[in-house]
C-alpha cells in the first residue's frame, strides 16, 4: 500500500522558465522537488507530529503553461519579455541577466511515508497553510485546489485511476534519458544527440513513378523535450567566500540536461512512472532528480 497526496491545480505566476542555460519553458524538475522538499521541512518545523514524515517522490502534471516570450509576425525566433528591474542609487537601470518567466497550472502528486493515520487531518490542514506560504520554482503560488489523499494498492488493477482522472487533462513529465544514452552509445556527441531528437527531419523520397515526395519526420514519436534534471559538481567540496550558508559544504556546479517526454496523464498505469526522486551520485558528483521505472 502506498500513500499519495495530490495538490491539484496549483496556479503559479512568474515561475523561473530558464530551466538551464540551454532550455526555456517548463521549470526544472529540481525546482519542483525543491519546493516539495521545503514543504516537508516546514511541516516538521511547525509540528512534531510530522517528525517521521518523508515525501519520497513527486510527480508533476502540467495543465497549462504560458511562457513570457514574444515573437513578432515576421520573426523566426522569440525574444524574452523582461520585468523592469528597479533603478539603482543613481536612478539608472543596472545591467542584468535576462530572466525568463512563465505562468503555469500544475497538479503535484506526492508520495509520503511515516505519517500515523490519526494525524491525517492535521496533515491536510497544515499543508494547506504551509504550501500557501511557499514559492514554487521561484514563482508565486496564487492558489490551489482541494487536497486529496489516496491509498494505492498496486496489486489491484486500475488503483491509480482515481489519481489520473483527477489529473486529466494534463501532461505528465517523464524522463527519457534512455534515448540520450542510446544515441551516445552509438557514438553521437551529446549536443548532436539532443538536437537530433528535437529537430524535424525533412527529406525527400522518389516513388516508383519517379515523383519526388517530401517527408517531415521526428526521430521519435511522442512529445520529446530537453529537460533540466539536476546539477553536476565542478569543484571540490569545501568553503567559498560569500556562500549563503556557512554550515553547508559548498561547491560550484552546472546544470545537467537530458531528454524527457510529456505524456497525457491517462497513459500512466503505475505510480512509479510519474514519480521523481532526489539522487546524489557521489562518484560522479551528480545531483539528480530521476525516476525509478
Amino acid at each position: 500500500m502506498r500513500q499519495v497526496l495530490v495538490i491539484p491545480q496549483v496556479s503559479v505566476q512568474n515561475a523561473n522558465a530558464l530551466s538551464s542555460p540551454y532550455t526555456i519553458g517548463f521549470p526544472a524538475m529540481t525546482a519542483f522537488l525543491g519546493g516539495i522538499h521545503a514543504l516537508q521541512r516546514n511541516l516538521k518545523i511547525k509540528n512534531t507530529l510530522f517528525n517521521d514524515l518523508v515525501f519520497t517522490g513527486v510527480g508533476v502534471a502540467c495543465h497549462r503553461i504560458n511562457l513570457q516570450t514574444y515573437k513578432g509576425k515576421q520573426d523566426y525566433v522569440a525574444s524574452i519579455i523582461a520585468t523592469a528591474n528597479p533603478l539603482n542609487e543613481k536612478g539608472e537601470r543596472p545591467s542584468f541577466i535576462e530572466e525568463a518567466r512563465c505562468h503555469l497550472t500544475v497538479s503535484l502528486v506526492i508520495e509520503y511515508k511515516g505519517l500515523s493515520m490519526e494525524y491525517e487531518d492535521e496533515f491536510i490542514t497544515s499543508i494547506q497553510t504551509e504550501f500557501a506560504k511557499l514559492k514554487l520554482a521561484s514563482g508565486d503560488i496564487l492558489g490551489f485546489g482541494k487536497l486529496k489523499r489516496f491509498t494505492i494498492d498496486e496489486k489491484t488493477d486500475n488503483s491509480l485511476r482515481p489519481i489520473t482522472r483527477l489529473l486529466m487533462p494534463s501532461y505528465v513529465l517523464i524522463e527519457r534519458r534512455d534515448l540520450m544514452i542510446d544515441a551516445m552509445q552509438q557514438g553521437q556527441d551529446t549536443i548532436d544527440a539532443l538536437l537530433d531528437h528535437l529537430a524535424i527531419h525533412h527529406y525527400s523520397e522518389k516513388n516508383e513513378a519517379g515523383d519526388v515526395e517530401w517527408i517531415a519526420k521526428r526521430k521519435q514519436l511522442g512529445w520529446i523535450v530537453p529537460i533540466a534534471t539536476g546539477f553536476h559538481g565542478i569543484s571540490e567540496l569545501g568553503q567559498a567566500m560569500n556562500q549563503r550558508d556557512l554550515s553547508k559544504p559548498h561547491r560550484f556546479a552546472e546544470s545537467v540536461v537530458t531528454l524527457g517526454e510529456f505524456i497525457m496523464a491517462y497513459k500512466i498505469n503505475q505510480l512509479n512512472e510519474m514519480l521523481w526522486h532526489y539522487h546524489f551520485d557521489s562518484k560522479n558528483n551528480l545531483y539528480l532528480c530521476q525516476q525509478n521505472k
Binding site: G72, G91, L142, L246
Partner: protein
Amino acid sequence: MATKAKNDMASVLAFEKKIVPSDGYFYGTTWDKRNSEALPLKLREKSVRGTISNRLKKALQDDPMKLDAKVENANLQTVDSCALAVDQDTLKLHFTLKILSGIAQPSACNNENFYESYVNAINSYINEEGFKNLARRYAINIASGRFLWRNRVGAEQIEVVVKLTETESLIFNALSFDIKDFDSDKNKSDDIDKLANEIANALSGKQPFALFEISAYAQVGQAQDVYPSEELVLDKTNSKNKKSKILYHIEEVAGMHSQKIGNAIRTIDTWYPEYQEVNIGPIAIEPYGAVTNLGKAYRNPKAKADFFTLFDKFARGIKLENKNDEHYVMAVLVRGGVFGASKD
C-alpha cells in the same frame, strides 16, 4: 554597508516579498450591471501614423514633392491597444492579493550574529507597532484603486470591492479617498480599519497569511480606451516593421502585471528627505527611493536616507532617529529583495 568589516555582517541576505498580488485581468461591463456580468477585454492591433519629428535631410527639405511622399509614409507604426466595447462603459480589473507572515525569516542569511540581532529588532517593531501604520497605508492604496494607474484618471466613478471571505466583502468608493495624504480625514473609516487590521495580522504573524479577491470597477465611458501593462520585450531579431507598443495579455485577456499592482500598493513612502519640496506625493517603497518614470532616486546614500544605511543600524538594534525611518525599513523588508553586503 560594506564599509565596516564586522563579524556581524551578512554578505548574503535576501527576503521574499510579503505582499503578493496576482496579475490583474481586464473585463468590460456597464456600471449598472457591474456585479453580474463582465466580458474579457482583448487587445487590438492598430496602425498609427506618427508625425515626422526627427530632423529631415537637407535634400528633402528642398524638395516639396519628396517631402510629401516622406510624410505620407512617415512612421507607420503598429501598436497594441485596448478599449471597452461600444455597449460598455466600465472597466473591471480583477486580481487576488496574498499577504504573508514570516518577516523575521530571511530567505537567505549567512551570519548568525546578524540574524539574531535582526530578529530582535523585527520582533520589537512588531510588538510596538504591529504593522498598523504600514497596513493602513496599504489598505488606503487598495481602497482608493491606486493600482488602476492611468485607468483611474478621469473615471466618473470607481468602486473597489475587497472580498475577505466567501461571505464578507468590503465596498469602497475609491474616489472619496485622498491618495496624496494618507492622514487626511477622508481616509478614515471603519472599513479601512478592518482591511488594515487583516493586513497587519498577517504581516505580524498573528495569522499565517491573508488572501483577498479584489475587483475594481472604473466607469470610464462608453468605448473608451483602457490601459493594460506594457511589455518590455528584449528583442534581438532584426526584423523590420516591429510593433512599437506591445501590451500584456494572459491567454488573450488584457492584463496588468502583478509587479505593477504591487508597486501601487507599496506607494506609501512619504518619509523621504525631499517629500515636502518636490510635491510628487508618496513614492513606491524602494531601497534607493527610485521612481522609474522620473529616472530619479529620492533616497540617495549620500543623504544617508537609503535603506542600506538605515537597515545597517536598525538590524543591529540601534535606535533610528525617528519612527518613520523604522516604518520605511520595515516596508522595504515587506517588499523583499537581495540585500547582502557582498560587492561581487
